[in-house]
Amino acid sequence: MRLWLLDEVKDAEDSLKSLISVMVERADKEKDYLMPGYTHLQVCALPPCEFIRTDTICSEVNLFDGHIFCYLTHSPSATILNVYNSSPLVSPCCLWAAEHWQEIPSLLIVNS
């Protein structure tokens, strides 16, 4: 089952990379389109700056595909590193997990 999952992880990783590529290319191609930014599902009219989540939308107006797609893409792209970390975990070595499990959260933080 470890061997089987090792193959499946590679397949999932390829699918995720492919999804991210499509999103990034659309973001780049359509970066000039404007749309309002939202927090709390509301247009940010006169938002107190400190209440705006920095990982969401930092301006009241966004380049639609550019900013939104980049934002949407950043979320799943954080998990791609987790795929890389899943692959060695499929390997039958508890020592690897013991040595490396602490790195996983920090890798995710760097990229999220």
Partner: protein, 297 residues
């Protein structure tokens, strides 16, 4: 070992037969991935409603309503959102009972962690319960990623500033919707920034300056924020947009307003002023795009 694609050996045979961490690890990863997919699906569902009308899903990824022919339902996105719950259930759902037995899959695969909890060391027959939830997670997360790619690749964006090139019959309606969504009050922060640049002064600050002999400085954003708020309230009371207020109106709110206040009311310029990392200006989008491109290389 290396030929099989593993990075190391099982140094302990008891661990070798009893370990299912790799199963849980994958299902956890699948759950986290599906959380992101699900939230993204929710965003796109909202943007595709008639009320927002920012995007249109391709016909291949949506269906007509069984009852109301005018509707176009975002089935693909709803299924992605729905699949996420199923995949969470595979790894951590405690139990699921259903009298009708309508959701057989969830009933059969009630949370693999619940199987692992309390098992003695090494192999126990309980561990064969890993198969169904793992196979289900693998199948569904792989399919979901491929469907998400198809939805994103084929959806049409109805831009606000390219109405003319949109299809006159369908997309133009969306273009107008998007344009309407860009109301002038979203530029209220820009109005406050404008006053910061002008170095506005209030009675309170003037008194402080008089007492302390500090020369006139730029005034903090919190001050100009209040003035901008009063401009929004004034426009609201007159049921007009911020750019419909006259220069005299603005001068009554602060004497620092001059004719160039109209230059604030430009959406493109507002976006381009956001030049710090993470902002929506073109140069920062380019930066994000290049970071993400490197990631998937």
């Amino acid at each position: 070992m290396k030929e099989l694609g593993f990075t190391s050996l099982a140094e302990n045979s008891l661990w070798g037969v009893g370990d299912r961490d790799f199963v849980v690890e994958f299902m956890m990863w699948a759950s986290l991935t599906m959380t992101h997919i699900s939230r993204m699906a929710e965003d796109l569902i909202i943007y595709s409603t008639a009320e927002f009308g920012f995007i249109t899903l391709s016909d291949a990824y949506s269906t007509g309503s069984s009852m109301m022919p005018q509707k176009k339902n975002p089935d693909s996105l709803e299924l992605l959102r729905g699949k996420s719950g199923r995949i969470f259930g595979n790894v951590c759902l405690v139990t699921s009972t259903s009298d009708s037995g309508s959701d057989i899959s969830l009933n059969k695969m009630a949370g693999f962690l619940m199987t692992l909890k309390g098992l003695p060391s090494t192999y126990n027959k309980d561990l064969q319960e890993d198969k169904e939830p793992l196979f289900d997670s693998v199948d569904n997360v792989s399919a979901s990623l491929k469907i998400a790619e198809g939805v994103i690749a084929t959806l049409e964006v109805c831009p606000s500033n390219d109405i003319i090139i949109c299809d006159l019959l369908s997309a133009q309606v969306h273009g107008e919707k998007m344009r309407q969504a860009l109301t002038m009050d979203v530029l209220a922060t820009d109005l406050a920034d404008y006053l910061v640049r002008k170095g506005v002064s209030s009675l309170f600050v003037s008194v402080v300056q008089l007492l302390t002999h500090i020369p006139s400085l730029q005034i903090p954003f919190r001050e100009t924020h209040h003035i901008s708020g009063r401009a929004v309230a004034l426009a609201e009371s007159r049921q007009c947009q911020l750019n419909d207020l006259t220069l005299e109106d603005y001068k009554q709110l602060s004497d620092k307003f001059t004719e160039d206040v109209q230059s604030v009311f430009d959406f493109e310029a507002s976006v381009e002023r956001r030049q710090s990392i993470g902002g929506p200006s073109r140069v920062m989008i380019d930066r994000q795009v290049s970071v993400l491109r490197k990631l998937v290389q």
